[in-house]
């Protein structure tokens, strides 16, 4: 395993960026600011994937999440928020119940993570340097059916999103 001091510093820097910005996503009162912090979280997570030797996934993370998903969410907000944006991202009345449930989940994760013998699981090998080629070959040989199903899912989601978001009046006029 890599033991360089730079990877340790990079991990802690990225972890603090991710957790801090994720917290800001929750606590920002303006939802456009929330999406901005979300983009920073996604980009920092791309850096974390680089640290984990997953360079293809880092590129996909930045392209799909920081690029497409954030832009799409901002477009959605612009289509539905007509008045001012000042207090568009508030908490509901279940804040304390939600916090209690989340504390329970954290405690459960801590118990099970503490019980697991992680050192026995870790394999000795290294991730090959060329991940893109290996992923590409696996995608079109061993995982070709999930790959095709994912393509079909994207097509269904595309058509479904258009049908659901279509204006009712336009639909009625088209029927006449």
């Amino acid at each position: 395993m890599e033991t360089s001091i730079y990877s340790v510093i990079a991990f802690y820097g990225l972890a603090i960026t991710i957790l801090g910005n994720a917290t800001l996503v929750i606590f920002a009162r303006n939802i456009v600011h929330s999406v901005l912090f979300l983009a920073v979280t996604f980009i920092a997570m791309g850096g974390l994937f680089l640290l984990l030797d997953a360079d293809f996934l880092a590129a996909v993370q930045v392209l799909v999440y920081a690029g497409a998903v954030c832009i799409m969410v901002v477009f959605g907000i612009m289509l539905i928020q007509r008045s001012d944006m000042k207090a568009t991202n508030l908490f509901n009345r279940q804040t304390f119940a939600g916090a209690g449930l989340v504390a329970l989940v954290v405690a459960m994760c801590a118990v099970f993570a503490g019980r697991t013998a992680w050192t026995d699981l870790v394999a000795a090998g290294e991730v090959p340097a060329n991940t893109v080629q290996a992923i590409g070959e696996l995608m079109l040989s061993k995982y070709v059916i999930p790959f095709e199903v994912a393509a079909l899912l994207l097509l269904v989601a595309l058509i479904g999103a258009i049908v659901i978001a279509r204006d009712e009046e336009v639909k009625a006029n088209a029927g006449n």
Binding site: A99, W118, A157
Partner: protein, 104 residues
């Protein structure tokens, strides 16, 4: 300073998942809930890639699985936003407390 191990990534992923879960349970805006679901899916991705590196380094199982997670997340955002826009058109609201059509 000790080297970064699998446990560090698992802890980071658990904390990020908890932040996302808290947002899903306590936010009032439907779009904010969608954003928090994205945070939870990303926490899962960190877990998958970390396990892929430390436990099965030569197989890429975790990396391929997280590519599928990203695909499903993108589809989910598209359909979710379309549903929110359709509901906003009927109700003129994105407050989740107003959505009680399925209550009896």
């Amino acid at each position: 300073m000790p080297a970064i191990s699998l446990t560090h990534y698992v802890v980071l992923s658990a904390l990020l998942f908890s932040i996302g879960l808290f947002g899903v349970l306590t936010k009032r805006n439907a779009v904010a809930v969608l954003i928090c679901i994205e945070l939870m899916l990303n926490a899962v991705n960190i877990n998958l890639v970390a396990f892929s590196k430390y436990i099965t380094p030569a197989d890429f199982v975790g990396q391929i699985f997280s590519i599928f997670v990203i695909t499903v997340a993108a589809a989910e955002v598209g359909v979710g936003l379309a549903i929110i826009i359709a509901i906003y058109r009927n109700r003129l609201s994105v407050n989740l407390d107003d959505f009680d059509w399925l209550k009896w």
